[in-house]
Amino acid sequence: MKRQKLFSLATVVATACLVPSLVFGATAAGDPEAWHANTPDQPGAVLVQNATIWTSGPQGKFVGDLLIRNGKVAQVGTDLSAPSGAVVIDGTGKHVTPGLIDAHSHTAIVGGVNEGTNNVTSEVRIEDVVNSETVNIYRQLAGGLTAGNLLHGSANAIGGQNCLIKMRYGEDPEDLKVEGRMQGIKFALGENPKRANWGEQDDHYPITRSGVEQLIRERFTAAKDYKERWDRWNSSKKGTAPKRDFQLEALVEILDGKRQIHCHSYRADEILMLMRIADDMGFKVDTFQHVLEGYKVADEMREHGAMGSTFSDWWAYKFEVYDAIPYNGSIMWDRGVVTTFNSDSSELARRMNLEAAKAVKYGGIPEEEALKFVTLNAAKQMRVDDIMGSLEAGKDADFVIWNGHPLSTYSICEQTWVDGRKYFDREEDLAAREALLKEREALIAKIKDKKEEGKEPTVAGADDPGYQMPEYYYDSAETSVCKCAAVSHKEEECTHIEHQKEEK
């Protein structure tokens, strides 16, 4: 699973003979490159003692201990004794929460978050383009995030399939994925799929909200047809089998209750519209994303069984969101809708605890319930609440140690553990910076030496830019929603913030 440290920091520094040898064995914590990062050990047992533990589970919040064994939560309680050989952490004065989960992320996707060319793209899969190499994974770990729901963009009424990952920084794409769980798909309603006011769109269909509705109905009708064709063939097995159609297969899985829908939405009318299609066609909508008018139709959502993943306090960034209010989350929650706050942003995903805190600020939700907006409820929305989202015996050992109250702007994430492995440690990160700086200095010195020997001409500049960083260094969420990225993925050309607005 893990590479040898063939090209380690130690080699470079050793050849340059610039630093004492004790640096050589240092773990490259906080390495800006995933391939260069070590997989942290998984101790047989970890005991966090005497901390304020927010379980997000039936045990609530209390001062006590958390025992981890072999990557799973073994016990949560008071006065737990440390098994022999356990890593013991003194949690006095500290707070422990479940690992935070981002219900709506576009981090760690390479080569574009939208297949925007067709109005239906249910055949495309984020799981094919997971970007294990982005440093955003590490940065989000540093804010206590342990899992993210990587969603296709909202360019089409029926978008691509999403992928749930854990923030196992350093692992390859396959090892980031949470396997063996129900998969989902992105749908989108409103402006983004219809694009009526986006200037000239010669042959774009649909261009109205009713067109979006008809398109979805038409595709599900086609999917039913397709299913029937297979059912007929399966009962006789005569002649050539029908040709597989991956676009329709994804929709058949929805009809069969084997694939969940995460639907980008804003307005109450379109939210009701999709639930009516679902009732007519016989499927469920698991989550509405953004859902800024969810507060108007919370009862209808609850009755349908739909959950809501919204922004804490974003509004007025385009016309269809003018009715947004910051109380949306608390009202949905109050009416019994399973509610989360999400990031939709690689940057915001580094401080999801503060998003949760806004559920307390706007609507006075109890603190423990507010924390669930970024833990247990997110796990429920991805149907993984049996393995993550709370600190309960048997669940994955994904947890965060904070130096204070997790909903306080003054608190800092000290450690983030995934599967019982410490993927982030603030102290180690700070300590490793010196080594990274030395490594850089050694390499720069090496270039200068070569230059003096006349061996290595340095890059001239515009006429020869030298090494072009591979596309995966630029997370698609930061580039591909930008128009400039259609032709180039150079970070300096991206007007990131402008286009992020458009994406939402």
Binding site: E33, W35, R125, N131, R440, L443, A445, T458, V459
Partner: protein, 539 residues
């Protein structure tokens, strides 16, 4: 002079050549050679310190320390020089003219423009003399050529890089299907990387289905509806059924991992053109690829300036890759993966040997480097019994050097392809502006053959048209110093005109399928940079 008359004159001029040979195409004489008193590296690790290589009719007839020189051989005394097997590049990307407009799709093509598996590169590719010359200059005598277009790019072709047309050089016209993660150009589907993967998945499943349907139908058509024909799916049948390897071009290490996953899902057999950053995920790569083609496009050092060690304008990632890239071949070698080098991705092909030498300096054993340019690619291409070694019966593709082939100071003196000798010329910086219209006269066998060469384009990227026998013929032109070489095809063969330009006058020499000739030329019109007028419409 009328075209017919001209042709008649040419025939008269070369009437000494038997017509049967004319019909066969170019004739090269003499075609028996002995390279003698030369150091011979017959294969990596095996050397004859002083010996002779006899070449007859394009093949190596004999190699050894005590080989008798045949009476009919032209003798090349090569004291203090070394001869190697010609280098083989398993990944030469050929730029095809753009054809991404879906309106232009032919009847049996796939409805998606990125699916071009029906492309037979050998039938439609440019076989540019300048590309061949650039590779010969570094000792590359054979290449597997790959299309640069589409996600499914069609059949590769393997050819020698000698003189004459493709038909004389082609070794294998169906050298395997090629794929790469390329989106549709011009805004069509697929526009994203994940879209390309989805298209590949669907297309390969379609091809599997097509293969089954066709196989059933071919076995017993009676009572079965004839499956719908599709050239692209037809071309992918054996790849989709796992019987034939698909060659995947990767741009970064994640591409390789992704291609591997797709292949595992669909039961395909893959081989890879690597990206040069396999070292980053070498443990994964080791489990995925037993063979690799590796580029040597090691980057230049990033520009650093300012106070010692404090330059933050260049990222650590860039610095590291600069340092690690030349070690990539060693990492792949140490991982036990067999690999061949390619010049693919080098901006300047002329740097190929220099870059391989960087890999050697970074730890790669010299013999492994040589094998990666000769025996290994020969094996990959299924040509082990034809090339890659200087041994009896092999094709006479040879490189003559004045030292160890990957020593940075070593010069390539000559290259032999199919038993034909090529001087290696260094391309000099252009001197003077040769553009304009030149009337030339070719002198051969006492007769004069007039013609015109029109040189245009940009300096350093000349364009050329030759008017001969009342015909306008597209040509290639390259300038080195004050010499311009013009290459064009006529009468089923290749003609070259080398003009040494001095002001508005030039002299020089030329070659044709029928023999060599001398040249004189005069510039009758200067090149004009002005754009065509608009007929005064502005006014």
């Amino acid at each position: 002079m009328s075209r017919l008359l001209h042709r008649a004159l040419l025939c008269a001029l070369f009437s000494l050549i038997p017509t049967s040979l004319l019909a066969q195409g170019p004739v090269y004489t003499p075609n028996v050679h002995a390279l003698t008193n030369v150091r011979i590296v017959t294969s990596p690790g095996r050397t004859i310190e002083q010996g002779t290589v006899v070449v007859r009719d394009g093949l190596i007839e004999a190699v050894g320390a005590n080989v008798a020189i045949p009476d009919d051989a032209q003798v090349w005394e090569l004291d203090s020089l070394t001869v190697y097997a010609g280098l083989i590049d398993p990944a030469m990307e050929v730029k095809l003219p753009k054809a991404d407009d879906e309106d232009d799709l032919a009847n049996l093509d796939h409805h998606l423009s990125v699916v071009k598996s029906q492309t037979l590169l050998a039938t439609g590719m440019p076989f540019k003399a300048s590309d061949r010359e650039a590779r010969r200059a570094v000792g590359i005598t054979t290449a597997r050529m790959l299309s640069n277009q589409g996600a499914f790019r069609g059949e590769a072709a393997i050819a020698n890089l000698g003189k004459g047309d493709l038909s004389y050089n082609l070794i294998e016209g169906e050298a395997g299907q090629v794929a790469a993660f390329s989106t549709a150009k011009g805004g069509g589907y697929p526009g994203s990387l994940m879209g390309v993967v989805a298209v590949m998945r669907q297309t390969l499943h379609d091809a599997q289905w097509y293969n089954q349907a066709m196989t059933s139908f071919e076995a017993n058509p009676r009572g079965l509806k004839r499956p719908e024909q599709n050239a692209a799916l037809e071309a992918l049948r054996s790849v989709a059924s796992g019987q034939e390897e698909l060659l995947f071009i990767t741009d970064d290490v994640l591409d390789l991992l992704r291609a591997h996953e797709l292949a595992a899902e669909l039961g395909l057999s893959l081989s890879y053109i690597g990206s040069g950053e396999e070292y980053k995920r070498i443990d994964e790569v080791k489990t995925m690829a037993s063979q690799l083609v590796l580029p040597v496009h090691f980057p230049k050092a990033p520009g650093v300036s300012g106070e010692e060690g404090k330059d933050l304008s260049v990222s650590l990632e860039k610095l590291r890759h600069w340092d690690n890239a030349p070690k990539n071949p060693t990492a792949v070698y140490d991982a036990g993966i067999e690999f061949a080098f390619t010049a693919h991705g080098l901006k300047d092909i002329g740097k190929f040997r220099e870059k391989v030498s960087e890999a050697i300096q970074a730890g790669l054993p010299h013999d492994a480097a040589l094998a990666s340019c000769t025996t290994v690619p020969a094996k990959m291409l299924g040509l082990s019994e034809q090339m890659g070694r200087v041994e009896t019966g092999m094709v006479a593709n040879l490189v003559v050097t004045d030292g160890a082939i990957f020593d940075p100071d070593t010069k390539v003196r000559a290259v032999w392809v199919d038993g034909n000798r090529f001087e290696v010329q260094k391309i000099e910086k252009p001197e003077g502006d040769p553009r304009g219209t030149w009337d030339y006269v070719a002198l051969a066998g006492g007769a004069e053959y007039p013609g015109t060469v029109i040189l245009g384009g940009e300096l350093g990227a000349l364009t050329a048209t030759v008017v001969a026998m009342d015909e306008e013929i597209p040509a290639e032109a390259t300038q080195s110093g004050s010499t311009v070489s013009v290459v064009f095809s006529m009468m089923g063969g290749q003609f070259t005109l080398d003009l040494n330009i001095n002001g508005d006058n030039a002299d020089g020499s030329g070659s044709s399928p029928f023999g060599d000739f001398s040249l004189t030329a005069t510039r009758v019109k200067k090149h004009s940079d002005s754009k065509p007028g608009n007929g005064g419409l502005d006014r």
